[in-house]
């Protein structure tokens, strides 16, 4: 336990400057925006010059940029991410409300792409250079070339419009009155297409990494020794080669999380899943500066936390990590 604790502490301290840069960076970016939250508010609601002035003062938009940044940092320390103009609610509330949906989508898609990608990668890497290997490699490359939002649309055309098997969009049947297990099943049913679209895109990455890792392990002496001892091929593939090639994929899980969060923006927008990604699109549409900063910030924290968990899992799986971490 002390090992995981030491690792956790090191990573937490290391992530503070990174987070600070993220905050300052996104603040600068959005400072550069023409028009501010008041403009957006007035466009949608209307108001006179006096009211605009009052609003600017009220929301602290008339202070100098440095003061505003300092005030923003101070507020962040108190978990105050500002006020969303479009929703007329605290940013953190809106973001946290949407977060579970995105986590569900990402978690399921990650599980799908990791499990299926690893399995297919083992199939391809069992005999490097075979016809099956070549076919899977090209197939995965083709899948990697498919834009997520387009795959989502094609799956919708096939399964929702033509076959009518799966719901077109949304997170659950509206006003169905379902509760408990029935509701969970309803949500799962709605998530089939979004999860498949998001998962399939990233499947190729795990497949290719697994395959490449296995090709490397095949060249090592211990596999040669295992073959010389006459161990059945199936057992060498699963027990020796695949097992040793699997570990780097765990790290990929963490690195992949930022990309998947980005990918979920388009997927959520295609299927109208009320998650973080769709919220980002809504924030862009309504020029909701505080909301967009909030989403970027929460995503960054999420990515850091996921990578932290992955690092801890990795340390638990690979005892060699301890030595290098202790020396570093």
């Amino acid at each position: 336990m002390t090992r995981a604790w030491r690792l956790l502490k090191r990573r937490l301290v290391g992530s503070i400057p990174v987070l600070l840069i993220v905050v300052v960076g996104s603040f600068l970016l959005l400072e550069a925006a023409p028009g501010d939250a008041v403009d957006a508010y007035v466009v949608s609601v209307g108001g006179d010059a006096g009211m605009i002035e009052a609003l600017r003062q009220n929301w602290g938009l008339d202070a100098s940029p440095m003061t505003r940044l300092a005030a923003y940092l101070w507020a962040l320390l108190h978990l105050d991410l500002g006020h969303s103009v479009a929703f007329s609610r605290p940013v953190l509330d809106v973001v946290l409300e949407r977060l579970p949906n995105t986590l569900l989508l990402m978690g399921a898609a990650t599980a799908l792409s990791f499990a299926l990608g690893t399995a297919l990668g083992i199939l391809a890497g069992a005999r490097p250079g075979s016809a099956r290997d070549r076919l899977l490699s090209i197939g995965s490359l083709a899948l990697y070339a498919v834009p997520g939002f387009w795959l989502a649309l094609v799956l919708t055309i096939v399964f929702s419009v033509e076959l009518r098997w799966l719901p077109l969009s949304g997170m659950e049947t509206i006003a169905s009155g379902k509760t408990g297990i029935a509701r969970a099943l309803d949500i799962a049913w709605h998530m089939v297409l979004p999860v498949t679209s998001l998962g399939l895109i990233y499947l190729a990455l795990y497949l290719r990494m697994m395959r490449a890792g296995m090709a490397e392990v095949w060249r090592m002496d211990f596999t040669l020794a295992a073959r010389a001892r006459g161990i059945p091929r199936r057992r060498i593939v699963l027990g020796h080669v695949a097992r040793n090639a699997l570990l780097p994929l765990v790290t990929m899980l963490g690195l992949q999380s930022a990309q998947m969060l980005g990918g979920s923006v388009v997927i959520e927008s295609v299927f109208s899943v009320p998650g973080l990604g769709r919220l980002a699109q809504e924030a862009v549409g309504s020029r909701d500066t505080p909301l967009l900063i909030g989403i970027i910030l929460v995503s960054a924290v999420l990515v850091i936390v996921i990578n932290l968990l992955v690092d801890i899992a990795y340390a638990a799986l690979d005892p060699r990590v301890d030595a290098s971490e202790a020396n570093a």
Partner: protein
Amino acid sequence: MSLGRLFRSPEAVAGFAILGLLVAIALLAPVLFPGDPLAIAGQPLTRPFQDWTLPLGTDRLGRDVLAGLFHGARTSLAVGLAAAAASILVGSVVGTVAGFAGGLVDEVLMRITDAFQTVPGFLLSLALVSVVGPSLGVVVAAIALSAWTGPARIARAEVLSIRERDYVASARVIGMHPVEIAFREVLPNALPPVLALSSVIVAAAILTEAALSFLGLGDPNRVTWGGMIAEGRAVLRSAPYLSVIPGIALVLAVLGVYLAGEGVVEGTAAREGQA
């Protein structure tokens, strides 16, 4: 590198064929379809293969799909190449400076790189485009903003090993300025592994551009494949071909870039193996 080595696998041949076709389409677009691809060309929602003056049909507003496809290739290719060039340029400069200067400079630059990798790249691009407004240059900058970190890390790792080499030491001895050493001696030698990544970066840039256009954040004065797919979404039930056709073009283009890139890497590896 001889062409024979480049074309040693059927995949590489296919990749270069697709890439060649794509470039030809992009170059020929203004010749074959001189008019504005956003102009009305015929009856709205003409199906493909019905009217031979409009082989792939028309969209909701009666715009020629084939003309859009040709002009969209220009945008995709231009944005993909420009964004990749920009991110490789920025990345290799940042990586070289970090690796060569070391110390505090290295620490600061790498923490900034960390920060950029922590924020989902697509959210970053989305934010920049929405803040500055959609135009071709902004889209290129937005994509480069999220793609320069990979080249930066690879360049830094290369520079760390190169800066200990004898020729760098001798450049120091003859009194070359450190900046000159960094950019004339070290950077060029650190580039090959960075360039090996370029096909992946170009492909990712094309996909990001398509996703931005799909969300309505592309240059509104240009035809983009992503924009065409989004446009077709409104009539997904009655005219699915409007979304499917530009998507196929996208998949082929990205696949071509990947395959050609792998062909080059394999060809280079084969040459090194023979040497």
